[in-house]
Symmetry: C2
Subunit: 314 residues, 2 copies
């Protein structure tokens, strides 16, 4: 029995997870970021007790606790080195957690934890596995031989910050033209807004009257209804995603590559053209191709992945 | 004692290599590509006997033979799946080699073999190691936990074919804007030729009168003498290289990244500005930085790497 904690900028989500990656009980509290790491870990501990009880177990049956945190993480020592949205600097949260429960605590970067969750549940036969999550930014996780690949300093797998268009649009990281600037949902929304203002007759302008504001779904939903401008937004966005995925395939040739984030709920609408672009463009013309899939766990990937990474590491 | 074979489109180079990666004797023959794999392996066998004798040993003292071949390689079965410049298709060269010598034969892609050579001799303390070779194209090799990372199908580490400028200049691979199109020596030569025609007063135009033709050295040598146009070519080229290296650092955060190929002989002239650009641009602002170096083995990397990879794998 394991506990997985998905520590986000907005919520702390905690789940009791069995050996097969099934969530037995789940609870959350607002993160209220800006608080000290001690206060946040205290809330985590309360949630641990709660999900243990709800699932009909006790904390004594829990073999390990896994935490996924945003930012730069030192997994070996259980320290969040830096996390901007949590305002953490060198926060020893694993040690702090052990003040409440005398069991092993494993800390991972949140994207790595989510990647491990998707891998463990859907891709555990893959020797090499890459997870790309399209959200506010573009995150990544790399699993090689059942181990999360963290880089020598724990800061690896920042797939969103490989270049897609050198000297292109500015990125939050300080460089220009990163993959994230074109393939995140933030970017898709920007691309949608631009197309709406260029095409006042587009169905997308009516869509937001009904739905309140532009989202990652706007272009996809209007494209499904045959709106030309929306179809173009959708296709261009998928080409951006495919361009980055092709680079990753050329570098890793992973057994399996999984696309996560809200947009992955589009399923085959995203996947089919994406696979076409990648298969057409990748360098490997003669050998077996990477199996490209959409995510299966969605919002649960963080909790499940944190729990199963803890299981794997202790 | 090991034998390393660097099978190239032009030459077959064979060396007797000791356990520490020192070449004891070395011989070569022209590849005469277009010949059958049986004929080429026969020449390899002749060269093996020759270097064994020259080094004062016999083939009986050789523990394994390592071969580095261009193209797509199935290391597990010792088969070159496809190599355009050798005109090989599904050539079982390891099996063929064993007709001559009854010892283990290990086959690697040539860039992977060279990467392993640089790693084994200069970076063997690195848990993660990336080699990028700037030549006619841009090749790569990735070593993780003392193992060559080949991808699930053997076609991994094609670092030259990650995107640098989406929809940019056409690449030989069929896509546009690959890293290779901007950072290979072929690209540097093209960039040099363009600058020469734009700047007829540039010293580079005199340089070729003395040296016969434009090479990867033209801009670097004239820049060292203060030629403005040459300095600009050099700086722009280094920025291209740095942009790709930054992407690789963001993805892998390797302990060590080594730049190989003829241009790496420039040493600090290349390395200093390159490190500056990467350090300035990479996503990791808070943790230890990747150690970036130029290659140490140059032309011997292929022989040494093939030999030591065989040592590691048998």
């Amino acid at each position: 029995m394991y506990i997985g904690i998905d520590l986000g900028g907005t919520n702390i989500a905690v789940g009791m997870v069995d050996d097969n990656g099934k969530i037995l009980a789940q609870e959350s509290l607002p993160t209220l970021s800006g608080r000290s790491y001690e206060e946040i870990v205290k809330d985590m501990a309360v949630l641990c007790e709660k999900v243990a009880e709800q699932s009909g177990h006790s904390m004594k049956e829990v073999d390990a606790i896994g935490i996924g945190s945003p930012g730069a993480v030192d997994s070996e020592n259980g320290v969040v080195i830096f996390a901007g949205n949590l305002k953490f600097e060198k926060a020893p949260i694993a040690l702090e957690m052990r003040k409440y429960f005398d069991i092993p605590v494993n800390l991972e970067n949140d994207a790595n934890a989510a990647a491990y969750g998707e891998y463990a549940v859907c891709g555990h036969e893959a020797e090499s596995f890459v997870f790309i999550t399209l959200g506010t930014g573009v995150g990544g996780g790399i699993i090689i031989n059942n181990q999360i690949y963290r880089g020598f300093n724990g800061a690896g797998a920042e797939i969103g910050h490989m270049t897609l268009k050198m000297d292109g649009k500015p990125c939050t990281c300080g460089r220009k033209g990163c993959f994230e600037v074109y393939a995140s949902v933030t970017a898709l929304i920007e691309q949608t807004v631009q197309a709406m203002s260029k095409n006042p007759e587009s169905m997308m302008n009516d869509w937001i009257k009904e739905n309140g504001h532009v989202s990652g779904r706007t272009a996809f939903e209007c494209a499904a209804k045959g709106d030309e401008a929306a179809m173009q937004v959708k296709d261009t966005y998928i080409r951006y995603v495919a361009e980055g995925v092709t680079s990753i395939v050329n570098i890793f040739q992973p057994d399996m590559l999984v696309i996560g984030g809200g947009i992955s709920r589009e399923g085959d609408v995203l996947l089919k053209p994406l696979k076409g672009y990648v298969s057409n463009g990748d360098f490997n013309k003669f050998m077996k191709k990477t199996d490209i899939q959409t995510a299966k766990l969605f919002n649960d990937a963080g909790i499940i992945g944190a729990a199963l990474a803890a299981k794997n590491n202790v």
